[in-house]
């Protein structure tokens, strides 16, 4: 799991152009939106594309998106639960 989280952090930094951040500076348990990384709605769409492009996973409902995109750890758990990580 920790390996997947580290990989995911690098991918998030790349797709969201968080050039001033390092994987170490991202708290995998912190909220991705508003607090924490302070991401916005476009970033959310970019994370959905990331899940589909890199892991072949699609979110089926908006509620599922809220749960999965809560933090880096919740994203990793979703990937692992679907055996894609």
């Amino acid at each position: 799991m920790e390996q997947l989280i580290a990989k995911l952090k690098n991918e998030i930094i790349e797709v969201l152009n968080l050039t001033e951040m390092t994987p170490e500076s991202i708290d995998e348990n912190a909220p991705l939106f508003v607090e924490g990384l302070g991401l916005d709605s476009i970033d959310a769409l970019e994370l959905i594309v990331l899940l589909e492009k890199k892991y072949g996973l699609k979110l089926s409902t908006a509620d599922e998106g809220k749960t999965v995109l809560k933090s880096v750890r919740s994203m990793a758990e979703f990937i692992r639960a679907n055996n894609k990580g």
Binding site: N17, L18, I42, L45, E46, E52, K53
Partner: protein
């Protein structure tokens, strides 16, 4: 046409150099636009994380506006509704258009990027500058074949003369491949304090535009 308006500030970004109000402000090294814009951003110790998500057209406009406006304190002198933003270029949002087209060109790897797609309109740069500076006045982005000082003077002058805006950021922001050319002017009404400095007229716009070319 309003002859009482003045060009109170201007900024030119081209050829790895920045000219601010007639003086060389910065001379950089990076050849590529994105590299030079990041170099300039860091040189000025700017801290605006959204900069890194912008396309190159927005970065060009953002940097020029930041350099011009950082000491102007426009919001202390004007209501946001009274500050306009009128921009022009020839290539529209071509760089983001090409990046988006590339991301959807393959049926087997069809992954359009939302963060690229949102910049496939030239006027997004207006939004970026307005959000940053809390400008709420008249705004338009015109696509013209080339820099046209008469058109800038006519349109912005009319907005000023009709009191649609009291102050206007305007100019040419071109971003096409490796070519970038940003020239922004701040137009304000003449007051006893600033009377006698650069008058807002097509010839002056043209003279400033040609500086450093």
């Amino acid at each position: 046409m309003d002859n009482r308006s003045i060009i109170s500030s201007y900024c030119i970004i081209r050829n790895k150099q920045v000219n601010l109000n007639g003086s060389l402000f910065y001379s950089g090294h990076e050849e590529q636009p994105a590299g030079f814009f990041l170099e300039l951003y860091k040189h000025c110790s700017m801290n605006y994380p959204k900069f890194h998500k912008m396309d190159t057209l927005c970065r060009l406009g953002f940097l020029a506006s930041e350099l011009m406006l950082s000491r102007k304190k426009l919001n202390e002198r004007y209501r946001g509704e009274d500050i306009g933003l009128i921009l022009y270029n020839a290539a529209a949002s071509m760089e983001s258009d090409k990046a988006h087209q590339k991301s959807i060109s393959s049926r087997d790897s069809y992954f359009p990027s939302p963060s690229v797609f949102v910049y496939t309109l030239a006027n997004i740069v207006i939004g970026e500058i307005c959000i940053r500076n809390k400008f709420f006045g008249e705004s338009t982005f015109f696509i013209e074949k080339k820099f046209n000082p008469s058109l800038i003077h006519q349109y912005v002058g009319d907005l000023m003369a009709r009191d649609t805006v009291q102050c206007c950021l305007t100019g040419w922001l071109e971003m096409d491949g490796d070519h970038y050319d940003g020239v922004l002017y701040l137009i304000e009404k003449s007051t006893p304090d600033n009377h006698g400095i650069v008058i807002f007229e097509p010839e002056k716009l043209s003279q400033i535009y040609l500086q450093g070319t």
